[in-house]
Symmetry: C2
Subunit: 484 residues, 2 copies
């Protein structure tokens, strides 16, 4: 039986985390005892209990997969995290700290890198492949990257340069270089003999790439086909040619969707003259999809980046302030709209109590419309010529909702304030604001799309700004004209 | 060279969609001409141009992958969609319509199933595997499912029953039954001979499952290892035993995270006595992750389910009304809070203009806190005992933001209304409401977690309700006490 890092079940992982936390707590207790007995620090380090604890912790950690170590580091407060990180970097552990750095989240990676000496960083980075190094590079000090670069051979330098030259959301920045390629004019038998010379095939090798002498991609040979066919068959007879072939400049999002549609495990990446230059694997695609959906959720609340829950107060304030500033501006504009109608409010103070309902429901309804349309655009299902059709539908939905809920609210308002006309104004204002929300909910993402911008970014703030100021204006304006 | 359904690059797919749309448009033009010439309908069907169009469309469609056909169906309005769907079901196309039904979104699937006769549905369903059938079953009429069930053999019935007995978010409902298993006491040579008897290995077979006579899982044999090792080696010597083994009752979300951590392509699913009963593949996991993140984004806007952009107005109203109703209730409560202070507003009408700012910024800030904490809970990084630490941090962030932005607003308000005390009240109210937002932003998800509920569901409405009513109460209450 062969041995690899253990793959933990969810429950076992939670258990491991608690075990590490318990060992850390015991360690702290020990330090406190030592502190009370006024022992010197080196005596603590020498103490038997301390050594036992550290050995147990190191032992536990070295059985873990780098991704699980990353999980544990992320779940620990800064002080404990750095203590554990020091153990991991120690000589006793057999852990590849470069791999761990790759697996942790951006915020945690920053805290770990800050705690390391340049030489340590160079050593950790040297354990990585060119494509992994490219991912880590932006977080490393320039001096460290220069040192690492000097240690690379010509091919790796070329790969690193290539991987770093693409946009973050391009296939080129996600691809790796670990592809196994074969010629079309050999038999499966020959391929099998060639493969037996490997100690290990690269992860996610579900197919071999078939290339000609100029390294141009001719097709792919799935491992399946190798296994179920006669060893005497020729690669060229068994290879598939209808496979997806990506270009390094393709959008990662489009590539991810192709992986989903065709249930791919890997896909070749070739440049414009069909020269094979790398491959994309489903593991990278899964990480990309997860990161993309995380950042979409975070950006909806105006959080710029994933914020480590143990981040300092100051880092959190920096992460959040710009969103609050934007909202403050829109809220202030809405407030000035109200200010313009202060005379009406003074005469009929009920307006002050009712106006936030009109604005709020408009915002909710507009966000529903915009969410639907942004989704449909992202799925590639919206073309320019659908504008009218979508607008007609959303306006109809808004009209129905406006009459129903606005009608109900109108009755409530009329009953509460014994004022029929106030109820009518309420119903009318609700309906008009929902229509405004539908109009803007269709226009904002469609216009952003035509301008070539990401329709998901900022459209929620814009619609809320419209329905707030618009709602106050419509309601107070109607009331001023019809009731005063 | 072998032939499989073509895998289209993103640009080619958009191109194909436009091609289909152009053919459909031409078809409609033709119908209109016929209509004007008052030909009868059967003459239209007989007309040469019509036949050519249909043949071209069918030809185009039959080269496509079922997932691409699904994409095209989703991007077409109902009428065109059903026209294309009829062509697909026709005898001329070689398309597996069961597969297409599996690939389309829920809303579109409903529209397609409604257009089909029971016999057609039975025929389509019979093309599917037991696990696929289980996915489709909830959407099929009972009579159809009964007929399909009668056509299954004993093993398939048992598999269907098993797949349908698990919760929607359990591994059991996502697994399939297409695993290839071998014994540990045979050589690779024997395994290879066994595999050559297959016409095709199941998709995503990256490893074989090693079982004993009682079908208990002993380990896994990656195809890699088979290829790089001596054919005389024994399976038992090469298999891995440290692999992840899932249980059918495990949460799909935890399983998906394990796939991400360990970069898996497939994983065995075994019951409590380690009997192998199925496997989970990365393709299913990718679909699950995508659906989960879609539904999270939709639920943030209170959309119950994915709404097809061509859905009828009435379906859209139904999908959206409950969220508007909930928000109406919370907005109404907030309105009554304002109502309680109408006397103060009458005396100082500036309060009406300023109060929405306090409530709005509180809501934004609270949503930031809750988004951070819900994310961290979902990642498994929050334990019960972290409550105090998180609260302390969030309150500090809120205090800083409150003093900074509240201070700025206070100065603005004081300048606008020439009223120093009003500015002070503004600053104080902003700070207090941000502190309230931080308190509730930590408490709501933590309490939901302790109650065993999903902290993502509804927490955004709750926090907005708190910061709206709370913001109005704090600001107007302070103003009434300090300014009147």
């Amino acid at each position: 039986m062969a041995s690899t890092p253990e793959q933990l079940h969810h429950d076992d992982m939670q258990h491991t985390l608690r075990e590490v936390q318990a060992l850390l707590a015991r360690q702290k207790l020990e330090e406190e005892v030592v502190h009370r007995q006024e022992m010197k620090n080196h005596e603590l380090v020498e103490s038997l209990v301390h050594k036992q604890n550290v050995a147990r912790l190191t032992g536990k950690l070295s059985t873990l997969h780098p991704a699980d170590i990353a999980f544990i580091l992320e779940a620990l407060p800064l002080e404990d995290r750095l203590f554990v990180w020091e153990l991991i970097r120690g000589d006793d552990s057999q852990i590849n700290d470069g791999e761990v750095l790759l697996e942790v989240s951006d915020a945690v990676r920053e805290s770990l890198i800050e705690s390391m000496e340049p030489e340590e960083l160079v050593a950790a980075a040297e354990q990585l492949d060119a494509d992994e190094l490219a991912d880590l590079a932006p977080d490393l000090p320039k001096q460290v990257m220069d040192d690492v670069y000097l240690g690379l051979d010509a091919e790796e330098r070329e790969q690193l340069r290539a991987a770093m030259s693409y946009e973050e959301d391009a296939v080129g920045s996600l691809m790796d270089f670990e592809m196994v390629s074969v010629r079309e004019d050999v038999t499966l038998e020959v391929v099998m003999r060639y493969l037996r010379r490997f100690d290990e095939l690269p992860d996610h090798t579900d197919q071999l790439f078939v290339i000609d002498r100029e390294e141009r991609l001719l097709g792919v040979l799935p491992l399946h086909r190798m296994l179920i066919n006669d060893p005497e068959s020729l690669v060229g007879d068994l290879m598939l040619t209808d496979m997806l072939c990506l270009h390094p400049g393709d959008k990662a999002d489009d590539a991810a969707k192709a992986f989903e549609r065709y249930d791919l495990v890997s896909a070749p990446v070739a440049n414009r003259d069909r020269r094979l230059i790398g491959r994309l694997t489903v593991a990278t695609v899964v990480d990309f999809i997860r990161e993309q959906s995380e950042s979409e959720l975070l950006s909806q609340a105006g959080l710029k980046e994933e914020e480590d829950i143990f981040a300092s107060v100051w880092d959190s304030v920096k992460n959040r302030w710009s969103w609050l500033a934007v909202n403050l501006v829109t809220a202030f504009i809405a407030s000035r709209v109200i200010g313009a109608f202060e005379g009406s409010i003074e005469r009929l103070v009920a307006l002050a109590a009712l106006m936030p309902i009109v604005a709020g429901i408009g915002g909710n309804s507009g966000n529903q419309t915009i969410t639907m349309i942004v989704r449909a655009i992202a799925m590639g299902q919206v073309q320019d010529d659908m504008f009218k059709r979508l607008l007609r539908k959303e306006l109809s939905v808004a009209l129905l909702n406006g009459l129903a809920w606005g009608g109900l609210l109108g009755i409530l308002a009329a009953a509460l304030y014994h004022n029929m006309s106030l109820g009518l104004v309420m119903t009318l204002a609700m309906t008009l604001n929902l229509l405004l929300a539908a109009l803007m909910g269709v226009c904002i993402p469609m216009v952003l799309m035509r301008l070539g911008r990401d329709p998901a970014l900022g459209s929620s703030v814009m619609i809320t700004a419209c329905t707030d100021s618009g709602g106050f204006f419509i309601f107070l304006g109607l009331a001023s004209h019809l009731l005063m």
